[in-house]
Symmetry: C2
């Protein structure tokens, strides 16, 4: 059979879960992993250990693959261009991926295509941050390094010009953004294939704790049909205009207008399976991982519709106890419908080591079950 | 983390799908595969290639595993006893598994615990088959070698004493059974853990073509609540009385009584994930593969309840075209809700190379979608 070979750069949990989704598809799946112990390297058959920052390593890895895709956005853009010049099929390609790698490029492009964003501009130094603040409602101001941030890293809240010095120490360009007074955070997840087919998942609510995703509720409770459709349309527009292939997560702020209505502003983009889409593994007809693979292979996409009235995802963070197995057993016994997804990672305080999904008709119950399991596994609930 | 290592003997599609189910559980999964090309060997990280008939190979494989389980029933019983004597945890253990390995032992045990079976006895030669026939309604008689059969292999329908010679040529004991005039075939799938927890899946209808499972409908249409409960109870009794650990498939004949009611008789037992349970991958809250792993690890079992009104599984057999990829693409385009499960096997005519699942509220529609996809992939439908 001529089933293709997909190579994924990165060996984290996204690669692990993509492999899980690839098994029934009958494809061959390879990863380029930083270490032999990485989350995906434990479960994938074809593992190359190497440094994704090294072009020769990337070239050797890509040589046996029909398509190259990514579990993170850190591969240097110039390497991706070099691989494309070699004839490697890179999906998403560098012209799209650069928007998820560089927040300055992303903001400029979203402005150009008329997608609403928080007020922003590249700033030169702390005095320039104060000018940016004065152009709007003053401090606080959000400062972000244009490259390299995730899960709250590379992001600062400056409450004064003195606060604004830190981000400039790394010597990379800094983007200033207004601190949006949002009602809540949403995410619009879509998947797009090379010939332009696209699917949109239900818009979800994403609840962050200390800058890290804690809970995702699908669909976002109380979201109007109008705003839901607007957010999905926005994500589909971004995917099309930026030429995204594969899964695109558009993280959004829901903001109350003076007239009482709501609008959405784009916070971040991710061009890969995303934490805000983990609920799809148990809550949608086709998971984000399966649809990402189908998209990068230019296969017809799968049904993105939900399978339950409500699905809730809660991240499992490491706590003080290195051995999570007894708690895991307890959670299974308490809730036979709990869907646990462990990443095979050593437990360290605050590290994402897994997630749980729950689903059902009663949102309060579904949320309680997910929160209980995540808390019990972390060790913050001891009932 | 002290997440355990499960070793599965066999590298077929059942091991492949068990690995898929093991990834979210966070366990380590190893296989002992006949060849490096086997279905599971393509996707599992830890693959040992070796002969399961060799005790030293089994010992070396089992040494690194917390529990040993199986994707087939062909490991010699005496090897399993030797491994247990070494202190290896073998699940299901040889005292249970022998009932799935030896049809003579199975029939004797089911008789002893009062589980209804077709009329049967071990027969010595063709003349003895005629005596067996004459004890009942005469020929035809079903003859089975007590060991080694599956998917119609090792099974003969003898219509006369002359027909009855063939099964004796292998020199292994032969079991004679009445040819049951059944209404249809059912399967009752249950999973049992070492400390005695058990779950029962909905009873399904299994449609065979040429001795090979073609379609499974979950739940079995029109099955009375009474007969359904009776079949589930029967399977739970067999699991308990035989000391089964893991998944047990009880293949049943539904037989019409003279008064118009129905009863079930046990056809075969399988102590591993089974083709009649593949629908659970997309149709139940917890798949048979996940529950098999939970059982052999003595973890609490997952919810076996269905997620859809109807789920239909159709096996994908190889046809005349070695490259199934274009048909696969077509099927995805035709039906975005189709769940395809490919096994990574080379296509050979009649070989099981995958299965599809469909689900929904309208049984006729759900059946048509599954049958179409399986037929199109095989090449017997060309719309």
């Amino acid at each position: 059979m001529t089933f293709p070979v997909v190579g994924m750069v990165g060996g984290g949990q996204l690669a692990r879960m993509t492999h899980e989704a690839g098994i029934p598809l009958g494809i061959r799946f390879r990863i380029l992993s930083d270490t032999p112990q990485d989350s995906a390297a434990q479960v994938v058959h074809d593992v190359t250990v190497g440094d994704y920052r090294d072009l020769d390593t990337l070239r050797a890895f890509a040589a046996g693959c029909d398509v190259l895709t990514f579990d993170h956005e850190h591969v240097p853009t110039e390497h991706l261009r070099a691989l494309e010049a070699d004839g490697i099929v890179v999906r998403p390609g560098p012209d799209a991926l650069v928007h998820a790698q560089d927040k300055g490029v992303m903001r400029a492009r979203l402005d150009a295509i008329g997608v609403p964003c928080p007020r922003h501009r590249i700033v030169a130094d702390p005095a320039d941050v104060t000018r940016f603040a004065d152009e709007g409602d003053g401090y606080p101001v959000v400062l972000k390094t244009v490259r390299g941030g995730y899960d709250g890293k590379g992001v600062w809240i400056a409450r004064s010009e003195a606060d604004a010095a830190e981000p400039f120490r790394a010597g990379v360009p800094v983007l200033a953004e207004e601190k949006v007074d949002f009602v809540r955070e949403l995410a619009a997840n879509v998947v797009r294939s090379p010939h332009g087919q696209a699917v949109a998942y239900p818009v979800v609510e994403s609840i962050q704790v200390d800058g890290v995703c804690d809970t995702v509720i699908a669909p976002a409770p109380g979201l109007s049909d109008e705003l839901s459709a607007q957010a999905q349309q926005l994500a589909l527009t971004v995917a099309r205009e930026l030429g995204v292939v594969g899964h695109l997560a558009v993280e959004l702020f829901e903001v109350r207008r003076p007239d009482g209505g709501s609008v959405v502003l784009v916070n971040e983009l991710a061009m890969r399976p995303h934490n805000s889409g983990h609920w799809t593994m148990d809550g949608a007809a086709t998971s984000q991982f399966a649809n990402h693979l189908r998209a990068v292979l230019d296969l017809p996409l799968g049904d993105p519709r939900p399978r339950a009235r409500w699905t809730v995802m809660a991240n499992v963070l490491g706590g003080d106890f290195p051995d999570m197995y007894p708690a895991y057993l307890h959670c299974m016994a308490r809730d036979p419908g709990l869907k646990i997804h462990m990443y095979g990672k050593d437990v360290k305080p605050g590290r994402k080591v897994g997630h749980v999904n729950t689903y059902g008709d009663d949102l309060a119950d579904v949320r309680e079950r997910a929160a209980h399991a995540a808390g019990y596994l972390r060790g913050t609930i001891d009932e």
